[in-house]
Subunit: 228 residues, 2 copies
């Protein structure tokens, strides 16, 4: 499939790399190609700069938000949540219309220091705001409740754990499930919560997720819904 | 131990009954004893009225919020979250001072219909509001992330699952862990998140908890933090 990944951070790179390795035609979209390729900044894990990373991934193209979205059948929003609407506007209303947009972002607001709060939260969510701003786009919220390396390879955790999914379009959710399956998620690990308003619930997992990272001393954990 | 349970709903009754069966000296506190004993209202599960229930539990006393708190060493807040501060004020600042208060309530606001929102949320929590209003009381937030019958008997779920705990006083958390142990929680199931600000994270689990109840068709599930 032709897939655009919006965002050049750790999540975007991890998703792009996995999708490309699975045989998809992947383009990473960015605000400013020249700047993205020239920055020397290491990522959060101290890994190579974007330029070094993309040179090692010859199966992934780089383009503007707009071109990447325009040429894609499916778009992943892997931008920082607080600037997602802006990035998606740059990708373009028409370029997103009628397409599946898989939203992985969390609206973490670091402007008042640590720990971040959510903006919006409680009675609204980023997933809903995106669906409202792009009514012709089929927004599915998923994968936003775990570390990037688990998103694309759930077998990294030995025990059982879950991924949540929500959205208003059932065909779009079916396609999203196929992509999750290709990452290694089994059907019984995927919990369909319902419509896009459920993005509130999954985004509101972030405050405890961030504290658990601290309490457990590792981001290598995930939520598992235990039932009989 | 001499324990006061504030609140006569399903959570209060479930906790009171279990603590009394474990040999504790338990008093349920209520706003208006006469009204509580005279109401014919069944609980959410269609079970017996409070009067019928208390008649079957001769090992549990009923008293005012104030008397119950005054005579207790440990107080459980099992009132509805939106009226908890009011109920605790009726229990009395002095009657709560220096004591362990285990806060199980969630600030679910149903005033705008279903699903409820949280009030407060995100940058504040009920747990923190209680600690701020009762600075001499040792507030520990726990058990608020699951169905009442799992709180007092975690073995009801076959697989592994977790209970979260947070608060500012380490001795108070140690005592709370002992009570959780007596309910059947093993040490490695109890996750200490840190100080009382972590109540934000656990209270913000409620939106997805409520939607999971709907998606799974049962409240008989719990969060399990899966790690390697």
């Amino acid at each position: 499939m032709k897939i655009a990944i919006l965002g050049t951070g750790m999540v975007g790179k991890t998703i792009a790399s996995r999708l490309a390795d699975l045989g998809n035609d992947v383009t990473i979209g960015t605000r400013n190609i020249e700047k993205t390729l020239s920055t020397d900044e290491k990522d959060l894990n101290g890994k190579s700069s974007f330029k070094e990373w993309i040179d090692e991934h010859s199966n992934i193209k780089v383009d503007t938000f707009s071109n990447a979205a325009s040429n894609a059948e499916i778009i992943f929003n892997c931008t920082s949540g607080m600037i997602s609407i802006n990035a998606l506007n740059l990708a373009g209303l028409d370029n997103l219309a009628g397409k599946l947009l898989i939203d992985i972002a969390n609206p973490l607001d670091f402007s008042n220091g640590m720990p971040p709060s959510l903006n919006p939260a409680n009675t609204d969510s980023l997933g809903e705001q995106i669906q409202k701003a792009f009514p012709e786009t089929k927004v599915v919220k998923t994968l936003n409740t775990m570390n990037a390396y688990l998103m694309v390879d759930p077998s990294k955790l030995k025990g059982d754990h879950n991924v949540f999914l929500c959205g208003n379009d059932s065909e779009a959710k079916k396609t999203t499930k196929t992509i999750l399956n290709s990452f290694g998620w089994k059907d019984d690990q995927i919990i369909d919560l319902g419509d896009i308003t459920n993005a509130r619930g999954t985004e509101m997992l972030l405050p405890i997720w961030l504290r658990l990272w601290n309490a457990l001393g590792t981001p290598e954990f995930n939520f598992h819904i235990q039932k009989n």
